[in-house]
Subunit: 143 residues, 2 copies
């Protein structure tokens, strides 16, 4: 919350670990937690520290190279995204993590109009859609 708003990104050295985290995130498709990425790397025999994974995921998120979303139980999920910087939302499969990126132009408009209407300013919104993708809904019709 007390973010580094200064815009000037301190020179980020390129390190083995930084690459690992980024690559691992790139390898998968859906959103994954820091813990998961850490476990995956360790499973591959890579030597990385948990702190370092957290650090790099945060950097990626800060730089807008990764999207984040919160699971209801206080866990942060990360995912590399192509449209960097561009604001967008996600339609995520709650079973397999498959994700569709969505540009909600209409929703943006709705949100800001609503904000103005009620005298609110500096409004940011969180919109996440969680469901079952076509594959998963066939496999498991009900829980």
């Amino acid at each position: 919350m007390t973010g580094t708003v200064g815009g000037r990104r301190r020179r980020q050295r390129s390190t083995r670990q930084g690459g690992l985290v980024r690559d691992q995130l790139a390898a998968g498709e859906g959103f994954r937690s820091a813990q998961t990425v850490f476990a995956e790397l360790r499973a591959k025999g890579e030597e990385v520290g948990l702190s370092t994974v957290y650090r790099h995921l945060q950097v990626l998120a800060d730089e807008g190279q990764a999207d984040t979303l919160q699971t209801g139980d206080g866990e942060a999920l990360y995912r590399l995204c192509g449209t960097d910087g561009k604001h967008h939302h996600h339609l995520v499969c709650r079973n397999c993590g498959r994700t569709v990126e969505i540009e909600g132009r209409g929703v943006e408009r709705w949100a800001s109009q609503l904000a103005e209407e009620h005298g609110f300013s500096d409004v940011n919104h969180t919109i996440e859609l969680l469901g079952l993708c076509s594959d998963c809904s066939q496999t498991r019709p009900r829980d």
Copy 2:
């Protein structure tokens, strides 16, 4: 998540503590955390256990009598809501907690259409709008 789907609510005794939590939640206006409600009650000299506060807040949420929302840092906030059961969203002041309830009919439609379009089913959505209300934006023009 492993909810009691059975529909039949087991007989819920009315207890002093249950009333306290509910009243305390009703007393305030904005969203508050379990910890906060607990602290408030203790500050008033009421004898309640932390576990009990958590328990009752969850019950209220389950019954649809209270709305919940997650702060980015893994904390759950609760608030009594009038339109019980009815699905809606919130425009919350990030400074004072003042809240406006919103019915996003259009957004609902947008969401379900989008879901269908991508073959997703059983989609639920999370939409929260965080901003500064008119009072707070005057008081603190910038951070």
